[in-house]
Symmetry: C2
Subunit: 411 residues, 2 copies
């Protein structure tokens, strides 16, 4: 991506950053001022605990109850099963270190969050894709894949299923309401002899623009209401809904994972930034956070609409192009004709970045499969950073690049 980054006049649809315009500068300043008094300041500037501020964990528990309206699990969750991390990335990394031995298997949606594929690679896990469509990972496909692995004597190596459950990165797809309990029960069905965890990455949960809110996959794991081992790891973050730079992620952990993950985190850093945790607790408790999220939603909805309108305007005429209409998150997933590869070494990537001055993420980066099996004609287009006007302009440029490549291949 160096090409695009070094190119100042290149408009980037590639970065997964949040919009700098809507970062809560004033809110954080107010919260910091409130915390940094002679009474409460020393506490925030001292070491916290490895698993994080009790204050924030208590407040988060209440907040989770709201998000899960209807589910009793959040209300009865012991705050000790909540862990605060350096962004949700650290939670993903720590649970992966705790769960996988080299050669173990993780089943993942396809496409999926490519940074997590790197984490899995780092712990030596094999990744196996599970068929995924506009309703998210397909429970029947998951069941069949697990049956296949059992048949092959490989079930004991399967340690986790990874799902980005809301408006996922890269495709903007959410798991449908119908599939949520099905995914949980399918994982439990194949966990009779040994534990398979379901890692629910809910990073984009709160960036939800249309339609009714959904309960988490976690809320369907009724083992949390019983005195037994639990299946779903819920990972959330304040990076997308508030600020990535304060690095506050939060996870709900099955109780059998608490000690191994806390031990790893103890060795890793003794705990994440206590000051940031106090800031988040303060805005959550005051209600300022909820108001901020509502403003964010309004702003990102407008940007999403701008990108979809521009897609309509510039791509409808190009045969063989389609794209998904996300109800939240930061990404539009676009598929080009088979004849137009999008990878870093493709003609399109060169034309887009060097001539038309627009950057995107090649879709092939987001697949767990071997390179030969990956679709090569897709793109992740982020509307997080650019203004509506720049989004339109970048989509115009991208369409121009696609048209150039199509014209070349036709000639």
């Amino acid at each position: 991506m160096q090409q695009g980054v070094e190119n100042a006049d290149c408009l980037s649809l590639a970065a997964g950053l949040v919009d700098p315009q809507t970062l809560p500068v004033e809110l954080v300043k107010e919260a910091a001022d409130q915390i940094l008094t002679p009474e409460t300041g020393p506490f925030a500037l001292q070491y916290g605990t490895t698993t994080g501020s009790d204050g924030l964990r208590d407040v988060f528990k209440d907040y989770l109850s709201e998000l899960e309206d209807g589910s009793p699990l959040a209300a009865s969750l012991p705050a000790g099963q909540i862990m605060l991390t350096t962004g949700s990335q650290q939670l993903l990394a720590l649970v992966s270190q705790a769960i996988f031995n080299p050669g173990d298997i993780c089943l993942v949606a396809a496409p999926t969050y490519f940074v997590y594929l790197g984490v899995l690679d780092g712990v030596g896990a094999q990744t196996i894709p599970v068929h995924t469509d506009g309703d998210g990972m397909c429970p029947q496909a998951l069941d069949e894949k697990l049956a296949e692995l059992a048949e092959a004597g490989q079930l004991h190596r399967v340690k986790m299923v990874y799902v980005v459950s809301y408006h996922d990165n890269p495709a903007g797809v959410s798991v449908s309401n119908e599939r949520r309990p099905q995914l949980v029960s399918t994982v439990k069905k194949w966990s009779q002899d040994q534990q398979i965890f379901l890692l629910e990455d809910a990073a984009y949960r709160e960036l939800h623009y249309d339609g009714p809110r959904q309960r988490s996959l976690w809320s369907y794991d009724d083992s949390y209401s019983r005195d037994e081992d639990q299946t779903v790891i819920l990972s959330q973050t304040f990076s997308k809904s508030f600020s990535p730079g304060i690095r506050v992620g939060v996870g709900v952990l099955p109780r059998q994972l608490l000690k191994p993950v806390a031990d790893l985190k103890g060795n890793e850093d003794f705990g994440s930034t206590h000051l940031s945790q106090n800031i988040v607790a303060s805005v959550l408790q005051s209600g300022a956070y909820a108001k901020h999220v509502q403003r964010l939603i309004d702003s990102y909805r407008e940007k999403r609409d701008a990108m979809l309108a521009a897609a309509e305007e510039f791509f409808t005429e190009i045969p063989g192009v389609s794209w998904l209409h996300p109800q939240g998150g930061l990404y539009v997933w676009m598929t080009l004709p088979d004849s137009v590869p999008t990878g870093f070494s493709s003609r399109l990537f060169e034309q887009a970045t060097s001539v038309d001055k627009v950057m995107y993420v090649p879709g092939e980066l987001c697949y767990p499969s071997s390179w030969e099996e990956r679709p090569t004609n897709q793109m992740r287009l982020s509307y997080g950073v650019l203004s509506p006007a720049d989004l339109r302009e970048s989509m115009r440029r991208l369409a121009a690049a696609v048209n150039t490549v199509l014209a070349e291949s036709a000639s």
Copy 2:
């Protein structure tokens, strides 16, 4: 330690915490207010880079030059070899993950920082103690140990030597000026065929109360001035000298470690708290940090003096007791008669925590050797948290407990 923690009237000489009274609440508030403006706030609240804020790395480089007066290495150090982490703990953990395979060997001072022993255990490294006295790790003993390992065909497994170079945890000992270059050259001497790193943990560097300041071991690694592999990893932190709760550690990495460590950190968390890094850069640049450190030094010197005076007052009469006089840091290291074990299950520990109401860290926790080989009659006494008056009272209680145990064993 649960005993002491649950005991509200127990005075703790155990916690390695910094003094809450001198935490820079007002300074952090001012810095946060300066940063959280519409112009600069969005930058601080956005993702930074994995290796940390360029601003802080540049300012730290200048600060390191000051600390190393006389050494040209800091002035010519590329800022890209500086990495910002979640406290120095994360730096220690990441370099250990990058360097060690299970079964590899780390040579360490004895006693040494016991938390790092846990990190080494976590990556499967063996630890081998090197003779250490009041001038720090003994270079000749290091040389002999390495010769022994070479003789035994084990040199290829030795990957690192770990030294807390200033006012160490637990003994308050600094490596003498004479030994600093000797330790570096000894490690280099045995690194001809394969790399041995020297990890210099300089966490207590700035808490220096008496005598001339010392250059780091790192400053003697002249490979930093040449186009070749480098030996010393320098680890520093703002936890002791500023605030643990903002979690800002900083390391200087040999260039051949940059990519492996940055890759691990990328998987782990994408980078530590950007807001905290901006706060530290602001106070370093304004000079407020230097003034704060001077105030800290004055305050801790007074507490150290109070503890040493109380040791004099209450322990001089007890035969067979001795203690070191630290010139900095947070700890006094005390040795009792051989007949008074200090461990968690000892009579002294019970008497001290349950009857006399005072807590300490048993010295035997701080040794890498097997349990049978560890001295059992030492204690780490921290003067970080308590006031001078409470320090005197806790030393009075501790002496009372020791006297009780001695009287029992005499009867």
